[in-house]
Subunit: 229 residues, 2 copies
């Protein structure tokens, strides 16, 4: 008699958060993810990570070898992406429908992403008009788990005379987002690079064919633009 294996369809708030964090780390580094990195990302202690990682390993959501770090399985990655999808759809809802500013949406979406209902997400997606990107310009994974890759480049990569449309951010911190909003550097704005100072690298840009602004290195290295040819 073979032992039947039952697959779990519901994952806890905490499990989903671990999977999402590991997924994001894996996107950045393509090596096995180590315990401390996860602990830092999730704001917990290494010992707690070890415990959880064992549990997720037993559930076949990731591969874990002692002292060697972890790697998501196909299933684990699928669930992580599903969580990212929910997060970004909720962020879009909060921004587009409830008029939250783009620095306010993250924390609330962190809670909403764990609501369990496939139908809810499908209907929300439809209600929002099947958006391709969230308020920060990050792509929203489809129902099937496919993520459309952006071909955005850093604003810092534009040369003098080139122009682009603000399409995303690298740094997602509230401080940075608020700074951008205050300076009208929001998604969709068209920028033309007029001058890059040889002395201090300050970038002078023209916004929407109107006013000029000087942007610091810190700023231009964290804005993603769609280059206009």
């Amino acid at each position: 008699m073979s032992k039947n294996v039952y697959f779990c369809l519901m994952y806890s708030f905490t499990e989903e958060n671990y999977l999402k964090a590991i997924y994001k780390l894996q996107e950045q580094s393509d090596m096995a993810i180590n315990t401390n990195a996860i602990a830092t990302a999730i704001q917990t202690k290494a010992a707690s990570v070890t415990d959880m990682v064992k549990k997720l390993s037993e559930k076949k959501l990731l591969k874990y070898e002692k002292y060697k770090g972890v790697e998501l399985t196909h299933l684990g990655k699928r669930i992580a992406i599903e969580t990212v999808r929910k997060h970004r759809l909720w962020e879009t809802f909060l921004h587009n429908k409830l008029n939250f500013s783009w620095d306010e949406v993250h924390d609330i979406a962190e809670q909403l992403e764990h609501i369990q209902s496939q139908e809810l997400i499908d209907k929300l997606d439809e209600f929002l008009g099947f958006p391709s990107h969230d308020p920060h310009g990050d792509p929203i994974p489809g129902r099937n788990g496919v993520i459309q890759q952006n071909n955005f480049i850093l604003l810092s990569e534009l040369s003098v005379g080139e122009s682009g449309i603000i399409s995303g951010v690298v740094n997602h911190s509230n401080l940075f987002l608020q700074h951008l909003e205050k300076n009208q550097l929001v998604l969709g704005k068209k920028l033309l690079v007029q001058e890059i100072s040889a002395f201090d690298q300050l970038v002078k840009v023209q916004i929407e064919d109107k006013h000029l602004q000087q942007l610091s290195n810190e700023v231009v290295r964290n804005i993603l633009v769609k280059k206009l040819s």
Copy 2:
């Protein structure tokens, strides 16, 4: 030196559920609520209720005397009502914006009602146009915790020749709600009582000045109407 008392502003998923259940029982019975009733309402065991009730009592959310049942304090009632408000606003969102039918909204709203963000609820309320009633006709408490009382009566209380507008339900079960929907007995429909059978009490009603329908006692005792004079 007096000991400072700190009030907790965040209550757990579970605490909110207990408070809501006790509040609803209190609405029905106006006596002290006993342990078993709570256990039944919340689908748990009496022993668990005793534990939680002690905890809520320490937090000043209810008054508890051993073997005497519980009664919500002003604060406890306030939080219960806030939870009801969230629940009914989310139900309205699901029904009005995402096109969920009225029997599908409850379970999802049970999860959504525990999302922590006052601003979210305020903005949701505004987005929905400050609705006064949820999809089942139940009143939505205001920001201030005030619940507007309905003066609806049971359909069974209408006499022959009288008419009313369907405005709510007593029984909230999915089975009943689906039955009503299937027979087009939805909120807002105008009914005229044409005949009440002396033999089996079946009520013949005319719906929206058009087709006729025979309604069982079970049905007319669970529909609330706004009587038209």
